[in-house]
Symmetry: C2
Subunit: 163 residues, 2 copies
């Protein structure tokens, strides 16, 4: 995230080089690397991300077609790796201390189209194709309400039908 200019220039010299051995944890991973090209570059940037002291990084999920911000959640390294490899978003639940796949209960999965990193490598923006709605309340986006209490969206599904 952007804090102040004084704190911004720490990343570029600090990216670890990744040996080939570290790419080889699963066949699925290798396959996706090949599909996306730039295997080494992918790993270099993924490995350069800064997780907080709890091992988490903020993830903003945006609809690739509408530009709507759908939700916000935290990822740990494992969930980001799964998101990258499977091309479906996975997150880390702090309250349950558990990895979860978005849509595992509802079917409202998020297909990953692109993963962006921010300038100082401590947040990610994930562009997705959303099936159904992102919010458990039935709205497309979790940010359906303004601070003045105005609801800005229509419901796209009935939570009683889904959960």
């Amino acid at each position: 995230m952007q804090e102040t200019i004084e704190n911004q220039n720490e990343t570029s010299g600090n990216q670890n080089k990744i040996s080939e051995n570290q790419n080889g944890t699963s066949g699925n991973q290798n396959e996706n690397f090949e599909n996306q090209n730039g295997t080494f570059e992918n790993m270099k940037i993924l490995k350069s991300l800064k997780y907080d002291k709890n091992g988490l990084i903020p993830a903003i999920i945006q609809d690739v077609k509408t530009g709507k911000v759908l939700m916000f959640a935290f990822m740990n390294e494992e969930s980001l790796k799964l998101t990258y490899e499977t091309k479906y978003t996975h997150f880390w639940s702090r309250s349950r201390q558990k990895l979860w796949k978005k849509g595992e209960t509802s079917g409202h999965v998020q297909k990953v189209e692109e993963i962006r990193v921010d300038c100082d490598r401590d947040a990610v923006l994930i562009l997705v194709e959303q099936t159904g709605g992102a919010c458990h309340t039935g709205y497309e986006s979790c940010f359906y309400e303004t601070v003045t209490g105005e609801v800005k969206e229509e419901k796209v599904f009935d939570p009683n039908d889904v959960y």
Copy 2:
């Protein structure tokens, strides 16, 4: 943020009622409340937000016209209050332990058009009109690069001219 369905329904019964006295900390604040209508509702939602154990809440900044996600940062209650009252974004710098106004050095301020809260009231989405670019590197958005190292934007200013 959205974690799992089990953790979503804690907010609605938990909003403190705010006495009139609590609205009266500054003349400026009262003025803005009047301008925005729904004084009590505004305070009720603002007061219902869940900050983490460090007193911070994630804030996503989005361009109101283009839908582009410009940056991500944390706010504490004071910076969110200032953002709400002054209609310019303010954040909390964790590294400097200091409140800062976006654009205070560069002039690249963010005029607040709308503040959204998420379904479980632990993240905010702020729609802004961005002057210049949001990123200190010269790009409009801090999320100018993909995880494969592809730069997706043109620079909109030269950082050497600004900082």
